[in-house]
């Protein structure tokens, strides 16, 4: 995912480097303000769509509002 690295994130990185904490992943994510609950059967269908989207080479990230974290 391409990300605009904010000065805050850069500041954090410097601090972590100083403390020898190794960062293995840093990225921007879209977090929904509201989570919606779905039944398991519904989730399976939703999952199919998300899988399809994620498989596409042009797609860098998929975010949704289900309670389960994808």
């Amino acid at each position: 995912m391409p990300m605009p690295i904010t000065p805050i994130l850069e500041h954090c990185h410097q601090r972590w480097r100083k403390r020898k904490i190794e960062v293995t992943k840093a990225n921007l994510e879209r977090i929904p303000n509201f989570r919606v609950e779905f039944t398991e059967d519904q989730l399976v269908e939703i999952e199919k769509l998300i899988d399809k989207l994620e498989e596409d080479d042009d797609v860098q990230g998929v975010y949704n509002e289900t309670l389960h974290k994808h």
Binding site: T24, K25, R30, P32, D58, H68, H70
Partner: protein, 143 residues
Amino acid sequence: MGRAFEYRRAAKEKRWDKMSRIFPKLAKAITMAAKDGGQDPDMNAALRTAIQNAKAQNMPKDNIESAIKRASGKDAADFTEINYEGKGPHGVLVFVECATDNSTRTVANVKSYFNKVGGSLVPTGSLNSCSAESGFRISQGVV
């Protein structure tokens, strides 16, 4: 949430890691970052982060280097970032982040995925409930 679902999902994700399905996406992130802010990771924080993320997924060094080189090549593809918003089955709202060199193809593909499951794309800006947030994960803390 059901446990069977969680379990299946976890198994799937593990498999994906092995399939290295994410390498092209990571490479694209690197190429875009290198094009944006220069090819020196010491001067380009976005590139540094992109490389870090790729390394964390065990992407081979050669792949990373060629991804950086691709930013300066003559045939360097011009990637643009586009976001699509859509409604999936059961009214689930989905936010799709794309980086593409051919937006006509991308929009057609994304649209078809939604249509196949009885969903549709919604006008950009409809999904106010999805807010951009930054997140860090320290998956390996060596103190």
